[in-house]
Symmetry: C2
Subunit: 460 residues, 2 copies
């Protein structure tokens, strides 16, 4: 650790935070368990990043790469051991180029989504990744961020035009490229492996995304669904085509919590009992009229509808997490299922939850248009850690039996790695371990539980 | 080779074509040099594919994977040596599932795009990959196929929801998954590396793509551009937003060849001298009116416009290659550039072509909306192979200096691998070599020139 001074000396002042400094901001995830960092290093550009990586590799220092630390599965903080360092990309903000003619943007790993959005807005553009949090570019790549606009615009993987990353090898090899081209097939894109890689393979230094014309016309409504959610979605899609911007499910339990706990939020159906509501957004010129006409055509599929200004409608949707957090301890399970399994899975999960832990209840919401569901379980005060583990297992069982995914958009982390070990066949885990060795030859990258699980995959 | 009988005996009749049979269909690419195959093997399902791979790996048999053999850069046929076998995916057609509610389709590697389209049409769906050829599913993945709809709908990489592939290791390991989910981040997607991998890393067995509602309304017109092509594109996009389905450039030289050589095709501007024309497609209800009104608003940017039925307009566009082939030997250079470089690059390339090879002339067309250009050079009868090499180098120089790509949508192959070696930095080539070793540990996969170039990357 004496060499840490040498690393610090080769970087700008404040780039290295030593073990005697307050590292808590880098050790505390947004959700999940607090860890302990050996030290923190924060390079400011590609050269400094490579210098840092060379030093870390030379010292065989284990590392967790951290962006804005808004991840929800624990992949952005080290474990409790205290031997793993944090490589923060927060200072990698110098690069931010809007390529207006090519409808693309190139940004350093540390640039926040909100900053990106501000810069794009000046050009009438937007990156259609809509999240409840404000992550950084490196983070949205490493988690393949999704959100409410995936239905219409795809996830980060689908918006990515270029990626630059630094490998943890002796040379701190740079892979990938940032050209804002829609078509380029002039190499095999090794760097693209980093999408959704949970910080296990390399560190993202910058990325280029395809962006879209900023949506100028939006209209939103909450529908009180009388038929099935899925049929309502399908009818809206058939009617409105690509004008449908979002389709979000809000359970009555989640809506009730929001209205009770956060009185500033609108109540779309005051005094009515809600089983399930659907938030629909329509885009394009004449959005409001198109929405109202489409609602008329839904007929008996909906028993009521509340057209709200988009800011109000989305404030309610984005307030659901906070409202539930005020209800008590929440177990957040981020899953996806084929669309025709949405309703049977919700019913089965509700029964499983109530049967398994007395007093627990499902208060779910989610991006139902793309099959995503946040199956939040409000736990009773008496619930134990083993109750949580049993709930997680039981819900994932229902979901995977229905052909779904136990991690829709939050990615892989210590929180769900046990399930990954059970779910992914051993030969495929072995292949991933081989790829990790190829890119991270000294096995330095990733939060411990995840890193060890993936590395072990190579030792059948 | 005596063991080949054992492989043949383990597969259905006709699956193995031995060295004494006529293998020419597997040795002759659509464009480029004919090779020689040691033998051909054609498994019919995943089990047979794994059996085949285990045999090939056991025999340390070098292999080129071949789909519909419609590639344009020579990556789908072996070289002339005769020692490399062809693994054809043409019989992997048993799997073809439309997931209508999830707007997705899962198909075996051997399923042709036309078959896929037919099946999707019955559900009112389509895979928006529009090409001049009829490749197979494995081929469009291995080349990351693009085409005329990338502007609106992205390339194959962006449409891919799932991928299943078999590695050339002792176990014939299956990687990836085919679930038709829009959101799944429950593993690190090693299989996705195969997108655009030119058959170098593994063999695709099946893929799942996101599809779209079949476009019911299209209107198309050719515009005689009086201003710049790029400004015309931008104005149309600002005016029509996501209703713009395609923007294709057709040079006067290419249009002239089509009209002269293929009299069944429409001539949008009879008797007029055309410098450059733009094919624009508008989609959605009221497409025809929207197109005509948008054309009015372009004012002096266009000097003439011919609204044609979409089938006629696209027949002309897709007939350009054949028309040019009748003009003489054509050197086809598939590049992309940032949009604001389109016009300077076209001008510079035209000068370079004429200056370098007397009698050669540029007759280009391309997917100008996404920056793609097919810089076709009609060669004089006297042109030599070294003229072709010099032209290729000079054009690629112009393109890469402008920030473009020397292979926009055709991918990597023997035809352009020399340029890849010059263009890709040695450390990045080394990283790719390491990944290739991780997935293809015996180095068996790929047409010789490409395989050797990539493998050599690991030996700095």
């Amino acid at each position: 650790m004496t060499d840490l001074a040498a690393l610090a000396a080769s970087l700008p002042p404040g780039a290295v935070l030593g073990p005697d400094e307050d590292l808590s901001a880098y050790e505390t995830p947004w959700r999940g368990e607090t860890g302990r960092a050996a030290f923190v290093v924060r390079p400011s550009d590609l050269d400094q990043l490579r210098e840092t990586v060379r030093w870390l590799v030379g010292a065989r220092q284990s590392v967790v790469v951290q962006g804005a630390n808004t991840g929800l599965v624990g992949a952005s903080v080290p474990g409790a051991g205290g031997a793993v360092a944090v490589l923060s990309t927060e200072r990698l903000t110098g690069l931010l180029d809007v390529h207006a003619e090519d409808r693309a943007v190139t940004a350093g790993a540390g640039v926040h989504l909100s900053t990106l959005d501000e810069r794009l807005a000046a050009h009438g553009l937007e990156l259609p990744v809509d999240l409840g949090a404000d992550p950084s570019v490196g983070g949205i790549v490493a988690t393949n961020a999704g959100g409410a606009r995936v239905l219409r615009h795809g996830d980060v993987r689908q918006r990515l035009l270029g990626l630059e990353a630094v490998l943890f090898d002796d040379n701190a090899t740079v892979v990938g490229d940032l050209r804002p081209l829609r078509k380029k097939n002039d190499t095999i894109r090794v760097a693209d492996l980093l999408v959704g890689s949970a910080g296990l393979l390399a560190v993202v230094s910058a990325a280029t995304f395809g962006v879209t014309a900023r949506e100028r016309h939006r209209a939103t409504a909450y529908l009180l669904v009388a038929g099935t959610v899925v049929e309502t979605c399908r009818r809206l899609e058939e009617d409105l085509g690509s004008r449908v911007g979002a389709l979000e499910l809000v359970s009555g339990a989640a809506l009730d919590a929001a209205v009770r706990r956060l009185p500033d939020l609108p109540d779309p159906f005051p005094g009515r009992s809600v089983d399930v509501a659907l938030l629909v957004e329509v885009t394009g010129p004449g959005a409001q009229d198109a929405l109202v006409e489409a609602l008329d055509r839904l007929g008996p599929l909906v028993s009521d509808a509340a057209v709200l200004p988009p800011e109000r409608a989305w404030a309610l949707r984005h307030g659901l997490s906070e409202a539930l957090a005020r209800e008590g301890t929440v177990l957040g399970l981020d899953v996806s299922v084929p669309r025709d399994a949405i309703e049977p899975v919700r019913r089965e999960v509700a029964l499983v939850v109530e049967g398994l832990v007395p007093g627990a209840r499902l208060a779910d919401f989610g991006h139902v248009g793309d099959g995503g569901l946040h199956l939040n379980v409000v736990l009773p005060a008496a619930a134990s850690l083993s109750d949580e583990a049993a709930l997680r297992r039981a819900v994932y069982d229902v979901v995977t039996r229905a052909g779904g995914s136990f991690s829709a958009e939050h990615g892989l982390g210590p929180v769900n790695v046990v399930w990954w070990l059970e779910h992914e066949p051993a030969p495929a885990r072995s292949a991933l371990a081989a790829v990790k060795r190829a890119l991270d030859p000294y096995g330095l990258l990733g939060t411990e539980a995840l890193r060890d699980a993936v590395t072990e995959g190579g030792r059948r």
